[in-house]
Symmetry: C2
Subunit: 285 residues, 2 copies
């Protein structure tokens, strides 16, 4: 809560800006435990009580500093000020909003640490082979919107802390508990070990979403849009489908997941019926 | 249905390839009634009975020709063959799949021509101020998946025939009837003239989605994620909200629309409960 004294930096080569350098290229090779946060909404989530990650540093255009002073005091991280031309030179592309930060991923949690112990109810989202950053980010956003306890990702799925995934998640990747499974992990064994009932969502599911009475402890599994979930998994799990119109049974995987999460969370009493106060809090990702 | 004789082209400057030139730049300035189709799935939709647009020409990498001969006979358009390096040189970026076509938008339909006449039931999606191509494409995809009769877009919303919107729509933009409203059009007046009940979807909606008995003729209105729907519209229309978890009431606009379309279409008996046959037909956009 202590006031933060920002440090002005004018040299794009200043070593304190190194974690912000060449953002696009470094997205491709990984960041050794660091991730990039963009924009005011996500920075405020990093400073909220629900944030799961520490902030290593903040980089602001000077004109953004006064409006963010309250947030910065809570982050406990050094704040660097640099004009947008310097920010853009460091990042390697134009920075319009003038708000960046570096977060620290920290030690990876175990799945069991994130899932409520039985007999408590639980709603967990499982992502199998989702290699598209937009889809992973959107799934995290939907998990937060419908109050899932956690998201589990297999080794093939991409990192929710990738820059674009955080952005598409509207910051949900920073507050929704998630954990990765080791390569080759078996979803059904995971579900058993966590006392969750696996529900595999697929256009070829055997039960319709609305007809199925949802279990108190559910692991909702989403596969990639191309091949879908593995046939072995589909054969051994309870499978759900979303009723669609004839002739175009194609939904985006994150959208399909939102429909299923909405149904499961609603049946479990996890959603608040009251309208949101004030103006529409949604914003473009 | 007649067999098509493809024409080999080796010069990127060949005038027959002009509609394919500099795709990214031309996306920004408009294409004078033409649009670009990418990939086999969308090309097959252009050749289907549900396609709403004529194909002006097709440009294929030679190795794609044998697998598509059946489709090309139905399109009635000239087919050009060029290697991927020539295709990429023309397009201005790498063409990986080797399947492109140019469609003709044709005369713009009037909204009234697309909406079933009363007293027939109707489900129409209205997009107000959606300037993000991904969101417009995703809304078209969801409209097709849940069997909406038509999509109406205000003048501020972006073109569903923009290249990226078609791609994100999984081709739904080519088969779902849509029409644009003139600048300054009043959604409530439009709804009245079409005998549709306007339903404004918003986090501050006064009724929850599931509680509301859906009308037989609905115009579901979605606003942009930032400011949402105009206050004047919200005050005068029936307003719906999606129940969400406490603390993160943020959904992507197309995802929110999918939830509402699913509910409205389901209540109207528009969805088929039977599972899809064969493998998962979804694919990455």
């Amino acid at each position: 809560m202590s006031p933060v004294t920002p440090v002005a930096i004018v040299d794009p080569a200043d070593p304190r800006l190194a974690p912000y350098a060449a953002m696009r290229e470094r997205d491709l090779v990984g960041r050794q435990g660091r991730f990039i946060v963009e924009g005011e909404v996500t920075l405020r989530l990093m400073a909220s009580a629900r944030a799961r990650f520490r902030t290593e540093s903040v980089l602001l255009a000077p004109e953004r500093w006064p409006g963010l002073a309250d947030v910065l005091g809570r982050l406990g991280a050094p704040v660097y000020l640099a004009g947008k031309p310097v920010m853009s030179a460091v990042a390697g592309f134009p920075i319009h909003r003038g708000v960046l930060a570096v977060g620290l991923a920290g030690p990876a949690p175990e799945p069991a640490a994130l899932v409520p112990q039985p007999p408590a109810p639980a709603l967990v989202l499982g992502l199998a082979g989702l290699t598209n950053h937009d889809n992973v980010g959107a799934c995290l956003r939907n998990a937060a919107a419908f109050g899932a306890d956690a998201v589990l990702l297999d080794a093939a799925s991409c990192d929710p802390l990738y820059r674009k995934a955080i952005r598409v998640s509207a910051g949900a990747a920073l507050i929704t508990p998630f954990a990765r499974l080791p390569a080759g992990a078996d979803w059904l064994a995971i579900a058993r070990s966590l006392a969750l009932e696996p529900l595999a969502l697929s256009p070829s599911g055997r039960e319709t979403l609305d007809a199925a009475p949802p279990p108190a402890r559910a692991l909702l599994l989403l596969g990639t849009e191309g091949p879908g979930l593995p046939a072995g998994l589909m054969a051994r799990a309870r499978t759900l489908r979303i009723p669609m119109a004839s002739g175009f049974d194609s939904l985006n995987v994150a959208t399909a997941g939102a429909l299923a999460l909405s149904r499961l969370a609603g049946a479990a009493g996890r959603l608040i019926p009251a309208p949101a106060a004030g103006p529409d809090p949604r914003e473009d990702c």
